[in-house]
Symmetry: C2
Subunit: 292 residues, 2 copies
């Protein structure tokens, strides 16, 4: 199968089956917290990170069952970051995937706690794959990865963007931290779940880094060009908030070229995997060419 939408749908099905095992039921106290966790986890979304886990696990010769805890780990982690990023003190978003954000549907305190609990659950699930999986997720998700990227993003707000070397260095840190770190970790967790060799893991990590950066460049392009109806969240917010994005630093056309160059780099990695790399190539194209 080298069809990205089919893989995404399959990963979503497997991931949601695994969530049923890992997420506490709504009836369990504290019910408000568990409702909020499930509200955000079951809000749909592309399930790109689980798809990467699944495809990388298969590419390294692992079974689908082997990577189930990794599907949970990456999506819990990703969802926690979305809940916290949407908070009033952060990006202050009311809409996510076409529905009220967690703090709008519940309240701010519950949203903070739901995010916190999902982070803990992500690590509990990662621990089912062993300590190395926990280390990969923790490094990608900490102050040198996802959280650092979000801080850089906030610090850059209101900055006068003139394409200086400083702008470009900060943009690179934001893109690596906010998005590429967790996407790379998703690929590595798939490899770890499969018991991959060191060279397989390195190849899949390199692939993940290319498409992680491509994903964020594509996101910057979409924010600048798509409508709310298509996007399912408020578009044009980056420009309104004076955010540092690939588009604001390099312009729209350069952003499109960069996404294409990163895609080519990812395809060079997948070519080394032969037939097993085909679905990864399709996913890479999907990331760059998606319209939401």
């Amino acid at each position: 199968m080298s069809d990205a939408p089919a893989l995404l749908a399959e990963a979503a099905r497997l991931a949601e089956a695994a969530f049923a095992h890992w997420l506490p039921p709504e009836s369990e106290a504290p019910a408000r917290l568990h409702r909020a966790m499930r509200y955000s986890m079951l809000a749909g979304g592309k399930r790109l990170r689980p798809a990467l886990v699944l495809a990388c696990c298969r590419a390294a010769g692992g079974s689908d069952a082997a990577c189930a805890p990794a599907l949970v780990a990456v999506e819990c982690f990703h969802t926690y970051t979305l809940i916290h990023d949407d908070l009033p003190a952060m990006d202050d978003d009311d809409l996510r995937r076409g529905r009220p954000t967690c703090h709008k549907a519940f309240d701010e305190a519950t949203a903070i706690l739901a995010g916190d609990a999902l982070q803990a659950l992500a690590f509990e699930a990662a621990a089912a794959l062993g300590a190395e999986a926990v280390r990969v997720l923790a490094r990608a998700g900490g102050s040198r990865g996802v959280v650092g990227g979000q801080q850089d993003d906030l610090d850059a707000e209101g900055r006068t963007v003139d394409g200086s070397a400083e702008d470009r260095a900060l943009l690179e840190r934001i893109h690596r931290g906010k998005t590429a770190a967790l996407i790379t970790a998703s690929c590595e967790l798939g490899a770890i779940a499969a018991g991959a060799t060191a060279s397989q893991r390195a190849l899949l990590a390199a692939y993940g880094e290319s498409i992680g950066l491509a994903f964020q460049v594509a996101d910057d392009v979409l924010d600048a060009t798509a409508s709310a109806a298509v996007l399912g969240k408020t578009p044009g917010k980056d420009a309104a908030q004076g955010k540092l994005t690939y588009v604001s630093v390099y312009g729209l056309e350069a952003a499109r070229c960069e996404a294409r160059a990163l895609l080519d780099r990812a395809l060079m990695s997948t070519a080394q995997l032969g037939a097993r790399g085909e679905v990864l190539a399709a996913l890479a194209r999907f990331v760059v060419e998606r319209d939401r």
Copy 2:
């Protein structure tokens, strides 16, 4: 050594030496985030959880070096929960350990992110002890532990407390979740670091649960009776916020009796450890008899 203050000082020294290895330097970007993490981690505090790790590791025959990552894991985790609990949307505290809280010294977004990054760092450190240590920390720290207890605590705010069975059940959940869960996990991590037998670990976990509950009862008593100068944080906030505490449900004298009963239960566990249990007994007394 069966002197609790000396053990606390020793644990603080060992923990702070380990932080130097694990915490990113202030000079590393994003500097604001790393400054906030260090500000809260190096704010002093009792270092009770590292002391429990150290004492339990020694009681199970482990070396001090073996438990260094666990000292970092429990204190990073504890500090993250304090930073988030202090946020305006949660307990809205301006003062912690006699200094401005993290969101007052920095800003709300940075405080949320510093807490998030410290949680990730806690799991990275726990992973150095293996996957079982991560599982213990994640279960204690998730929606069925620390985070659940904080949600219960917030949900109970403004409740009309009349000592009903429902009040008592909710209070028990709050005390187990908010405080006892992480204190129990600290004792277990010390045991795991030492390579303890299952029966040693169970004994140390039972000890941890007793003093964890005792700690929170003592905290409720202190909030109702101590002054800000002694406490280093705003006292009387529980009553002002209509919080469900041992004192509000059972009254001050009953709270003092309960703390004593829990102490006796902890001392029964330590008695089974012979001479190795002496310092744990001293720590248990310290927890109940402290004045801040």
